[in-house]
């Protein structure tokens, strides 16, 4: 699933960063640029950090350059490995576009990148290395991931419906989401907890019983200091692969034995890989700030009967009365990260 329409051109002084990935990032970042500028003016540009998550950065630019070069043609004008493909170019681009001079780096742990960034950002604030952090993630559809997930037979030919019987894989998507995060309780939504774990099971398959997912969920709740019964909504990783959804349903049923309203929003966005955690945190943010209206699950009534029951939300107008929400992200290498967001009391 690709972002349709034209992406913004980058300003001339940032032209060397110009690739689809960074232009996608600029589209999201542009929406909060006034807030970032305000924070930068108030706190000082060197006191605002950037922590960006990405799985593949601007690798698509290298793919195009490589294929043209191998075909004996010219490398596309404007191709720049260091400022487009290199993982660190994502955070560098965000900092340059926002005029920030604080610490900046990219966290890259595949599909958990966009969640882990919140852990890093929070520590930067806690240690006083920054007074505000621009935090988020971006990823772009590229041949490497399309062909790679194809080789693993993880791609669905259809629009995938996670947790449905007969689901046969994921749809790769692309996108970006960025936040401005500061200490204190001033904003409408709070980062209340982060939980990380590793499966130590397999490089590209999750633990079948969801042990690592369960550990990350429990760690996030403990970090937030809340009990499972206090959670109002769970944004599932829910990729639509047979293995992910099966293990995630098991983990959810153990952590939330009384159930919790939940959905996978990937049918709307595709699986945006390193940006997924940030995009799904963004959907939670919108829901929490807008009256605890939860994102629905497509075809919620068709849950695979062989899985432990998950309370998939079918009603797009369903609201919950509990202000703590969790969002899960699970990645290659058994890299798991769950975050808890809460509406400010």
């Amino acid at each position: 699933m690709r972002v349709e329409g034209d992406l913004p051109e980058l300003p001339a002084e940032l032209a060397r960063f110009s690739c689809r990935n960074h232009r996608l990032a600029s589209l999201a970042l542009g929406q909060i640029l006034p807030d970032i500028s305000e924070a930068s003016d108030r706190l000082g540009a060197d006191r605002v950090a950037v922590v960006a998550g990405s799985s593949t950065s601007g690798i698509d630019a290298s793919e195009a350059a490589y294929l043209a070069w191998k075909a004996g043609g010219e490398v596309p004008a404007g191709y720049d490995y260091a400022n487009q493909h290199e993982m660190g170019s994502v955070s560098e681009f965000v900092a340059r576009m926002a005029g920030l001079e604080g610490p900046r780096w990219t966290v890259s742990t595949a599909c958990s990148s966009g969640a882990k960034v919140f852990a890093t950002a929070r520590s930067l604030l806690a240690m006083g290395l920054a007074d505000a952090v621009v935090v988020g993630g971006v990823d772009t559809v590229c041949l490497t991931t399309l062909e790679g997930f194809g080789a693993l037979q993880s791609l669905s030919r259809e629009r995938t419906i996670p947790f449905r019987g007969g689901r046969d894989g994921l749809n790769i998507g692309e996108g970006a989401a960025f936040f401005l995060m500061e200490k204190g309780e001033a904003g409408p939504v709070l980062l209340e907890g982060v939980g990380e774990s590793a499966d130590a099971h397999h490089m590209n398959a999750p633990h079948p019983e969801g042990e690592g997912a369960e550990a990350a969920l429990r760690a996030a709740l403990a970090d937030a200091g809340i009990r499972p019964e206090e959670v109002g909504y769970a944004n599932l990783h829910g990729t639509g692969t047979p293995l992910n959804d099966a293990m995630e349903a098991k983990a959810m049923s153990r952590v939330f034995p009384h159930g919790v309203p939940a959905s996978s929003t990937k049918p709307f966005t595709g699986h945006c890989l390193g940006a997924a955690g940030a995009i799904e945190a963004g959907l939670c943010w919108i829901g929490l700030a807008g009256g605890e209206l939860v994102p629905p699950h497509v075809a919620a009534g068709e849950c695979d009967p062989s899985l432990p029951a998950v309370d998939l939300v079918s009603d797009p107008r369903r609201a919950v009365d509990r202000r703590h929400w969790v969002s899960s992200s699970f990645a290659f290498g058994g890299s798991n990260c769950c975050i808890v967001l809460g509406r400010a009391p």
Binding site: S55, E92, M127, M203, A331
Partner: protein
């Protein structure tokens, strides 16, 4: 804001030998090892070395991989497969993510700890250290294995000639707690910019130096303060216990020093649950003395007697330091050289940085104290 301090328990580095071979990693089961990328091997090799030196199980530490180019060679192979319209190898794809080495290390050793992979262009060195401190901030009980690793940059990518490099890596094992004699030292993170940016080579030289002093590195607007494990103050002062009042040296640069004092019922001058704040003057004076002793020791001299000539403007925000207090004693050279010197002294709460007391100290350190005493 208090600078977090970690023990620097062990370090190791790896570069290819004459045959160019990657590390053998004999501790990794062969079935798993054959799936390892170059970075996975470098990470596993260096991880085993520093964990072995530290006597810490491989399942214990939280993990940080800092790599500018990540799995660039694996990606180049995948690009080749795409270009030749061959199926992409699932093994290659699984090993193409930036954090591949973390996943493989976790698999090999049953390590379920938080793990993060970072990149920041030519500032990846800084980012690795800062991320290690971030991980430690969130998980203060865990040791942190920090590995910097780069694969050989492939020949087969367009417009990337400037990045050709051999593979290589460095590892550091960081841990919470009080430093012990076998540690390489401590590293503290301070949110202020160091004067100059010095990179990995300075740290390598520091580790290799048996007489190492304090080292400050710049890391993206913050400072990394490396310190050796200092001798106990009784070895730096002419005083004899129990009149050695400071518990340990935390940092000693030629012209400034920091020491720590913990207030407990066995501490000199302790009565009715606290030590009177006036004892702070002696804590400051002994910190000046220990700094002088450390500077002398590095010049091959024994601790010498010094004299506190005067104290100006001692003010304290508290009347006494209560039982359980953890005090940070800081002195900074203000004026003078050779025998007559003036220091600014400051005492703060080591837990929250709160200012507790301070004054100016004028000291006299005769070159030949015995002659001075006999002639006066």
């Amino acid at each position: 804001m208090i600078a977090p301090v970690l023990r620097l328990v062990a370090s190791a580095s790896w570069a290819p030998g004459a045959d160019g071979a990657l590390p053998g990693c004999p501790d990794i089961p062969p079935m798993l090892r054959r799936r390892f990328s170059a970075l996975s091997r470098i990470f596993a090799h260096l991880g085993a070395e520093v964990l072995g030196k530290a006597g810490i199980a491989a399942s214990e530490p939280a993990l940080v991989l800092a790599s500018r180019h990540g799995e660039i060679d694996v990606l180049a192979r995948i690009l080749g497969q795409i270009e030749r319209k061959e199926p992409v190898s699932p093994t290659h794809f699984s090993a193409s993510v930036h954090h591949t080495a973390l996943g493989h290390f976790s698999l090999a050793h049953g390590n379920r700890r938080p793990a993060r992979a970072v990149a920041a262009g030519d500032r990846t060195w800084d980012a690795g250290w800062l991320e290690a401190f971030c991980l430690s901030q969130a998980h203060p009980d865990l040791p942190v294995l920090l590995v910097f690793a780069e694969d050989a940059f492939p020949d087969d990518l367009p417009l990337s000639d400037g990045f050709r490099q051999p593979p290589g890596g460095r590892a550091f094992l960081l841990a919470p707690g009080e430093p012990v004699a076998t540690d390489l030292g401590t590293v503290a993170l301070e949110p202020r910019r160091a004067a100059e940016a010095v990179g990995p080579a300075a740290l390598d030289a520091w580790i290799a130096d048996p007489a190492r002093g304090a080292l400050t590195l710049c890391a993206q607007g913050a400072s990394l303060l490396f310190d050796p494990v200092y001798p106990h103050p009784s070895g730096l002062l002419p005083h004899k216990p129990p009149m050695v009042l400071i518990d340990r040296m935390e940092r000693a640069e030629p012209l400034r020093a920091r020491a720590r004092v913990r207030i407990h019922p066995g501490a000199p001058f302790f009565r009715d649950g606290s030590v009177p704040a006036i004892a702070g003057i002696e804590y400051l004076a002994q910190t000046v003395g220990a700094l002088s002793g450390w500077n002398g020791r590095r010049a091959g001299q024994d601790p010498k007697i010094g004299f506190l000539l005067s104290v100006r403007g001692y003010e304290s925000a508290v009347g006494a330091f209560p039982d359980g207090s953890d005090l940070r004693i800081e002195v900074v050279h203000e004026w003078g050289d050779a025998e007559m010197m003036r220091f600014e002294g400051r005492i703060s709460d080591a837990r929250d940085g709160r200012h507790l007391a301070g004054c100016t100290l004028n000291v006299f350190g005769p070159d030949d104290p015995r002659a001075f005493l006999e002639n006066s």
